[in-house]
């Protein structure tokens, strides 16, 4: 096997999920290279030997300054053409997913996604892909090379193997049309108030609340329990609640003792951010909502009926 791992970084910090993928690649046979694009690429590249890369390609050019996918597809395609990698691995992120899909089309290569593991069965590479809300695990393979794989975020832990890598600077040529999209502005959504990552109890609300003003039901319950308030991307994107409270793939990863999910379907991108809570309680009116597959106690019912009453009962007990 000859593997290339795409490593995304922001402000000089490589993404954890990509470092985890690098470790996975190093645990399989063959040589492992990584590619880092954009500002500070060389600095980041120099660190990647520790996580399992033998060679790291660093591409820094004005066209790669913004975290946009298409110029990176040009860079990776050129590397594959020149060095003949048969496997390209990426840790999931908004950027990496767009790169992976575009690479598949550019190279007519097989792309397996959402993987939680990768192994060699003899000389056949097999990926493990949970499907249908994790209700089944598919073992998946490739029929076209290079083999592309996108891993689910947060499943592979980075491993510090203490190695060092050769850093190779590359100067990519980027297509005209790959550079047509331009980044105008970045808003980090800096958090206001205490971080939900520290909270022992989180009461989280989703679109099932029906309207932004109904978040008060969630706030009341959180207050009665002495916990913090969380939210799904759906309600954050809709402007109902601040980004700093978002739990999930593109938000925070939380591990409270208790997580109460209210009007949340439990989509996989939400689940990856909260599945390690010690106890998960869910209130949802749809018996088939995915959240009921992985909660400890689920209540099928209308949150508008249940939550105010629950808050009231808790207040009575804790004040008495």
């Amino acid at each position: 096997m000859s593997t290339l791992v795409f490593v995304e970084h922001h402000d000089r910090a490589p993404q954890e999920s990509a470092l985890g993928v690098l470790g996975k690649a190093a645990s399989l046979e063959g040589d492992v290279a990584a590619v880092v694009c954009g500002e500070h690429a060389r600095e980041v590249a120099a660190e990647l030997g520790r996580y399992g890369a033998q060679r790291v390609f660093a591409a820094d050019a004005p066209a790669l300054a913004a975290p946009l996918p298409q110029p990176r597809v040009d860079v990776i395609t050129a590397l594959i053409g020149e060095h003949g990698f048969d496997t390209v691995l990426l840790g999931s992120s908004v950027l990496a997913a767009d790169i992976a899909a575009a690479l598949a089309a550019r190279l007519e290569a097989g792309l397996n996604y959402g993987l939680v593991d990768l192994r060699l069965d003899g000389d056949r590479l097999v990926g493990v892909q949970p499907i249908l809300g994790d209700s089944a695990y598919a073992n998946v393979g490739w029929t076209a090379t290079p083999r592309l794989a996108l891993f689910r975020s947060g499943v592979l832990e980075p491993r510090d193997v203490g190695g060092s890598a050769d850093v190779i600077n590359v100067s990519p040529s980027v297509h005209e049309w790959s550079q047509a999209a331009r980044l105008l502005e970045q808003d980090r959504g800096e958090s206001e108030g205490p971080s939900i990552e520290e909270a022992d109890i989180i009461v989280a609300g989703g679109r099932g609340l029906g309207a932004p003003e109904h978040f008060s039901i969630v706030e009341d319950l959180a207050q009665a329990l002495g916990g913090a308030v969380g939210a799904t991307r759906a309600v954050v994107d809709a402007g109902w609640y601040p980004y700093s409270t978002q739990v999930g793939q593109t938000g925070k990863t939380v591990t409270p003792k208790l997580y109460v999910a209210c009007g949340i379907s439990g989509a996989i991108q939400h689940k990856v951010g909260m599945q390690n809570a010690s106890v998960i309680v869910a209130i949802n009116k749809d018996r088939n909502a995915p959240i009921f597959d992985y909660c400890d106690l689920g209540v099928v019912g209308d949150l508008h009926q249940i939550m105010p009453k629950l808050t009231e009962l808790i207040r009575q007990r804790t004040s008495g």
């Binding site: 975290p67 946009l68 298409q70 597809v73 992120s93 908004v94 997913a97 767009d98 790169i99 899909a101 598949a104 089309a105 290569a109 097989g110 792309l111 959402g114 097999v126 949970p130 249908l132 209700s135 089944a136 695990y137 073992n139 998946v140 393979g141 490739w142 029929t143 076209a144 049309w177 999209a181 980044l183 105008l184 970045q186 808003d187 980090r188 959504g189 991307r233 759906a234 309600v235 994107d237 980004y243 793939q249 593109t250 208790l258 106890v279 309680v281 749809d286 088939n288 009921f292 992985y294 400890d296 209540v299 099928v300 209308d302 249940i306 009453k309 629950l310 009231e312 808790i314 007990r317």
Partner: protein
């Protein structure tokens, strides 16, 4: 402005789903519906059309002929036409042939804008647009939570792991919208009645010049080898609220010493 919206028919999202152990493909024999995330893409297209003088919204899909039923929901919402690639040879397509086929139909239409939904509820891929944009050689923005189009330029706000980006791109381009971008309208009775009479064209692969071997499982780059049961999740108790759920929750929380 001409807008093509990629939409997909998926199994009813409120019913249990299963993979056929024989074919290792999703069992699509039950009730089907328009993918929920795609109604947001249709809604966004309709809003853009309504804001421009002479717009057209074409919904595009690849699926068996029966999927026209679900495409009609988009027509009932207000889309002008439906274009469906239905061909037995397309069964079992992964992202490679799906993007190949959709790129071929979309090229014929030459739209100013191509919209997609957040993700298909059956595949959970949230990927197709990347492959489609590549084949169309168009700029791409995914996860759009707001979209404005003015003077041939689209401006998009979108969420990533690092907060929000604002990205600008010239038309034509491919944009995938978040399901929070808008509140999709419900089709009116008039819309539903009118939908039947709107143009609905079905094409085979040959009409697009795509060989059967370049579609379906044969044209795919991946395969499902086998299925395993998921690892045990521990115990899950689910109760129906009969009016006493709040009391039961208090009991549970108190036993766990959370109160």
């Amino acid at each position: 402005m001409k807008i093509a919206v990629c939409v997909k028919e998926v199994p009813d999202t409120t019913a249990p789903r299963r993979v056929d152990p024989e074919t290792l493909r999703l069992d699509r024999s039950g009730e089907a519906t328009l993918n929920p995330g795609d109604t947001s893409a249709v809604e966004e297209a309709l809003r853009l059309k309504e804001a421009s003088a002479n717009g057209e919204v074409v919904v595009v899909s690849m699926a068996p002929e029966s999927a026209l039923n679900s495409l009609r929901k988009a027509l009932a919402m207000g889309a002008d036409r439906a274009l469906l690639v239905a061909d037995e040879a397309a069964a079992g397509s992964d992202i490679l042939p799906t993007s190949r086929v959709l790129a071929a139909v979309i090229s014929r239409e030459a739209p100013d804008l191509v919209l997609l939904g957040q993700q298909a509820s059956d595949s959970d891929g949230a990927l197709l647009w990347g492959a489609l944009a590549e084949r169309l050689e168009m700029p791409l923005v995914s996860q759009a939570t707001s979209l404005t189009v003015e003077d041939g330029t689209a401006t998009v706000r979108r969420q990533t792991e690092f907060g929000y980006d604002v990205i600008e791109t010239p038309l034509p381009c491919v944009i995938a919208v978040s399901d929070a971008i808008n509140e999709p309208r419900y089709p009116s009775l008039k819309g539903i009645m009118g939908a039947r009479k709107k143009p609905q064209e079905t094409l085979g692969l040959d009409a697009l010049g795509i060989a059967p071997s370049a579609a379906g499982a044969a044209g795919s780059g991946t395969q499902v080898l086998s299925l395993d049961a998921p690892p045990s999740r521990g115990e899950t108790t689910v109760i129906e609220d009969d009016g006493t759920a709040a009391e039961k929750l208090v009991e549970f929380l108190s036993e766990g010493k959370y109160l």
